[in-house]
C-alpha cells in the first residue's frame, strides 16, 4: 500500500522501528480486533490500538456510561454520561484516528451471539468484569482458534495471559471452572484503583500489537501478575492441561455454556 502524507507523519515512530517498518504498519492497519467490554480495561486497550492505527476495532458492550465509571474508564467522559459505552468509545477512538473504524456491538455476550460477533475478527481482547463472560469468551476463542488476550483486575492487582488456541494453555487450563458465587466478592464491594486498569489494559494492547506483527515473546503459557502496591511484576509458567475440558486432547465441552451471572448478586 501507499501511505498518505498524513499516515507517514502519524505512524513515523512506528515505521522507524526495525521490527515494525512500513510493512508492519500495514499489518496494523489491516488488523481487526474486538474488545469485550469498553470499561476499565477495554478503554485503554482501544485507545492505544486506535492510536496505533488498528483498522477495525469492534467494541462489545451493552452498558451506558455512568459517573462512577469515569474514575478509570478513559474512553468516556463527563459529557457522555447516559450514552451507550460502545458509541462513546467509537466517538473517542475515531476522533483520535480517522484511519480506524469502530464497530459497536451493543449486546451482552451469550452462547447464542458470541460466535457470530467474534468470527470476523483476528484477535479478541477480554476486558470483561465477570466470570460467566470470561469463560464464554475463552471457550468461543478456543473453538474458533482466535488469539485471545485475557486479563483481569482486582483492587491493586492485575493479571494478563495471551491464549493461542492449540499452541498454549487456555484460561480453563489455569482455572478449570468458575469459582462458586459465594467465593468471590461482588463487583460492588471489591473496589479497584483506577490506574491499575490502565496498566493492565496497556499491557493487553501491547500483546495485541505484538501478535499482529508477530514479534517478540507473547504471554503464551505465562501468566503475568502485577501488584501496584509492591510495584512488582511476576510471570508464572502455565502449562497446557491435556485434560482441559475445552482445549485438552479429549474435550468434554463442545457447546458454549452460559454460566449464571452472579457478579451482582449480594450474599
Amino acid at each position: 500500500m501507499e501511505f498518505t502524507e498524513d499516515q507517514i507523519l502519524r505512524y513515523s515512530r512506528h515505521i522507524l522501528l526495525p521490527e515494525v517498518g512500513g510493512d508492519g504498519q500495514e499489518k496494523i492497519l489491516n488488523a481487526k480486533v474486538v474488545l469485550v467490554g469498553a470499561g476499565g480495561l477495554g478503554s485503554p486497550v482501544g485507545y492505544y490500538l486506535a492510536a496505533a492505527g488498528v483498522g477495525t476495532i469492534g467494541v462489545i458492550d451493552n452498558d451506558r456510561v455512568e459517573l462512577s465509571n469515569l474514575q478509570r474508564q478513559i474512553a468516556h467522559n463527563t459529557s457522555r454520561i447516559g450514552v451507550d459505552k460502545a458509541d462513546s468509545a467509537k466517538q473517542t477512538y475515531e476522533t483520535l484516528n480517522h484511519d480506524v473504524k469502530v464497530v459497536p456491538h451493543k449486546e451482552r455476550l451469550t452462547s447464542k451471539n458470541i460466535m457470530q460477533i467474534i468470527r470476523d475478527y483476528d484477535i479478541v481482547v477480554d476486558g470483561s468484569d465477570n466470570f460467566p463472560t470470561r469463560y464464554l469468551v475463552n471457550d468461543a476463542c478456543v473453538m474458533l482458534k482466535k488469539t485471545l488476550v485475557s486479563a483481569a483486575v482486582f483492587r491493586f492487582e492485575g493479571q494478563v495471559m495471551t491464549i493461542f488456541p492449540g499452541e498454549g494453555p487456555c484460561y480453563r487450563c489455569l482455572f478449570e471452572v468458575p469459582p462458586p458465587p459465594g467465593m468471590v466478592p461482588s463487583c460492588q464491594e471489591a473496589g479497584i484503583l483506577g490506574v491499575v486498569t490502565g496498566v493492565i489494559g496497556t499491557i493487553q494492547a501491547t500483546e495485541v500489537i505484538k501478535a499482529i506483527l508477530g514479534i517478540g515473546h507473547p504471554l503464551k503459557g505465562r501468566l503475568l501478575l502485577w501488584n501496584a502496591l509492591d510495584m512488582n511484576f511476576r510471570t508464572v509458567k502455565v502449562p497446557r492441561n491435556r485434560e482441559c475440558p475445552v482445549c485438552g486432547d479429549h474435550p468434554t465441552i463442545k457447546e458454549l455454556i452460559d454460566y449464571e451471572q452472579f457478579c451482582s448478586m449480594s450474599h
Binding site: 515505521i15 526495525p18 517498518g21 510493512d23 517478540g216 515473546h217
Partner: protein, 88 residues
C-alpha cells in the same frame, strides 16, 4: 566517471528533515528488491550522516555518499536485507 552500480530508484527528499528523511528512505527501500540500489537526495546536513547510519543499522549497504553542492548530498544504498527479524 562511471559508477560500478546502477541506480534502480531515486528518491528526492529535499526539504525533508529528520526523522522523516529516514522514514521516507526506509519506506522506499522496503518496496525494492534485494540487490537493487536506491539513490537518496537530501539537502539536510544531519540526514547525510544519519540516513546512512540508520540504513546500515537495518542491514542495508551504503555504497557511496556524494556531496554535490554546499547543500546537497546523494546517498546510494543497496538493499541487502529484507525486514529485520528478531525472532522467527
Amino acid at each position: 566517471m562511471a559508477d560500478e552500480f546502477k541506480v534502480d530508484k531515486t528518491l528526492d527528499i529535499k526539504g525533508q528533515v529528520c526523522p522523516y528523511t529516514f522514514v521516507r528512505s526506509k519506506l522506499a527501500i522496503e518496496k525494492m528488491n534485494l540487490g537493487e540500489v536506491l539513490e537518496i537526495i537530501t539537502d539536510h546536513r544531519p540526514a547525510s550522516e544519519n540516513v546512512p547510519k540508520s540504513m546500515e543499522n537495518e542491514g542495508q549497504r551504503v555504497l557511496k555518499i556524494e556531496q554535490t553542492t554546499e547543500k546537497e548530498w546523494h546517498i546510494f544504498v543497496r538493499k541487502d536485507r529484507e525486514k529485520k527479524k528478531r525472532e522467527t
